[in-house]
């Protein structure tokens, strides 16, 4: 299922990028007046996501996760104000060398274990673009949604774990940098916090590409 989802994302990204580039070239060649465009009506961004676990999530695995992706769509109702959706998936892992565990006074276990976590945040976003006419466009956003958090401990081929959903609140700041004046695509970078009621808390960073529509 994940593979299908990822392939679909990649296909969308490829088609979107090709379409954006074609449109950009056509506008530049035949309609120079449109170079006065300043702000996007829609933005689609695809990002690599990394995060630092915080709070009790950090107790389970403190490693900085580098494995994840994020998708964001924003529709701007004015040049400054946008609404959209945002979701992603991230994964973390830690190998714990052989240790002795004492579940109770009459039991002892010696084992090496692998710990895994994965998160799936999905949220609606309210976005405010501070300077939509500048070359580097800075924005701040607030998100509300849900987050699925899973923890798994693996020993040999056995695993035990749990997953839960929580209510999610997520403030974020970021910027987009078009690849040239009036470009339909460019870089997207942002940082934010995920705070979920199922005891998950992290600081995340997204870095990727966006496609904009005027």
């Amino acid at each position: 299922m994940k593979k299908i989802f990822c392939i679909a994302l990649l296909a969308l990204l490829s088609v979107g990028a090709s379409f954006g580039q074609t449109q950009n070239d056509e506008f530049a060649d035949y309609n120079p007046n449109l170079k006065a465009r300043h702000s996007y009506e829609q933005i689609y961004s695809f990002n690599w996501q990394s995060y630092l676990p915080l709070g009790s999530s950090n107790d389970y695995i403190s490693r900085y996760s580098l494995e994840g992706f994020n998708f964001n769509f924003t529709y701007f109702v004015t040049s400054n104000i946008g609404v959209g959706v945002d979701f992603g998936w991230s994964y973390n892992k830690k190998f714990v060398p052989r240790e002795i565990y004492r579940p109770d006074e009459n039991t002892a276990v010696a084992a090496a274990i692998n710990k895994y976590t994965d998160i799936f945040p999905i949220k609606a976003q309210f976005k405010y673009m501070i300077n939509p006419k500048d070359a580097v466009k800075v924005y701040a956003s607030a998100g509300l949604g849900a987050l699925r958090y899973g923890e798994e401990t693996h020993v040999q081929d056995l695993s035990i774990g749990q997953h839960s959903w929580g209510f999610l609140m997520s403030p974020e700041v970021g910027m987009i940098v078009p690849f040239g004046k009036d470009a339909l695509w460019g870089l997207n970078a942002n940082a934010g916090l995920n705070w979920a009621t199922n005891n998950f808390f992290n600081l995340y960073f997204n870095l990727g590409l966006y496609i904009g529509i005027y």
């Binding site: 992706f69 190998f95 009459n106 693996h154 590409l209």
Partner: protein, 208 residues
């Protein structure tokens, strides 16, 4: 921004996305390692035990088939266990019938029925005998709450049971239970096997 830079950024972006999609959970580091588990019966006074004896064979369980066997490898394991008990201060009984503790071993070749204790921290390997009773001639029993609920598939487990033979009654309680998971899978050396058995005696020895 140059076309080349755009191309590089695009390729990097897509590569990262593909990488994040293709991750899988690789448990190689833990699969190749044994897991040692030891349990003591609650409230057991081990100071009353002075002597022990060890069976001369291992009980093999292959699904519904159960049989006892001995060979050079088994003898090595039994000698290792005997050494561990001796180092804890117990004396090997000259007459096995008079030993305070009986040590018996079971190896699971293949089993499909496993009982699971939902209150057990680890959740795995807390299996029990089919009917909760010890199958060898002395018919001892486990003094813990019997687990329930779960059926799974386990192979390659070596179980070391230590039975209180001083108990008055028809059944004899198991006072120390150790398990080495995936021990004799064919990939373990004799040193690794000895080390895993020794570890059971180290992490929770059968004494006060």
């Amino acid at each position: 921004m140059s076309q080349t830079l755009k191309l590089i950024l695009t390729i990097v972006g897509i590569s990262v996305l593909i990488q994040s999609c293709s991750l899988y959970q690789d448990n190689t580091e833990t699969i190749i390692q044994n897991v040692s588990i030891a349990q003591k019966a609650p409230d057991t006074d081990f100071s009353k035990f002075k002597t022990f004896t060890v069976t001369d064979s291992i009980l093999y369980i292959d699904n519904e088939d159960k049989y006892r066997a001995s060979n050079h490898f088994v003898e090595t394991i039994l000698a290792n266990i005997s050494d561990n008990f001796t180092s804890l201060g117990y004396t090997r009984a000259t007459n096995p019938e008079e030993a305070d503790l009986l040590v018996d071993l079971t190896y699971i070749l293949s089993a499909t029925t496993v009982y699971y204790d939902p209150y057990y921290y680890w959740g795995w390997d807390y299996w029990w005998w089919w009917d909760g009773y010890y199958p060898y001639p002395y018919y001892p029993y486990y003094p813990y709450p019997l687990p329930v609920e779960y059926i799974s598939y386990y192979t390659g487990n070596l179980i070391i049971e230590t039975v209180d033979m001083t108990h008055n009654g028809e059944r004899f309680p198991i006072v120390w239970h150790a398990l080495v998971r995936s021990l004799i899978s064919g990939s373990n050396s004799k040193e690794e096997i000895s080390s895993a058995i020794d570890e059971c005696f180290t992490i929770l020895p059968p004494k006060n």
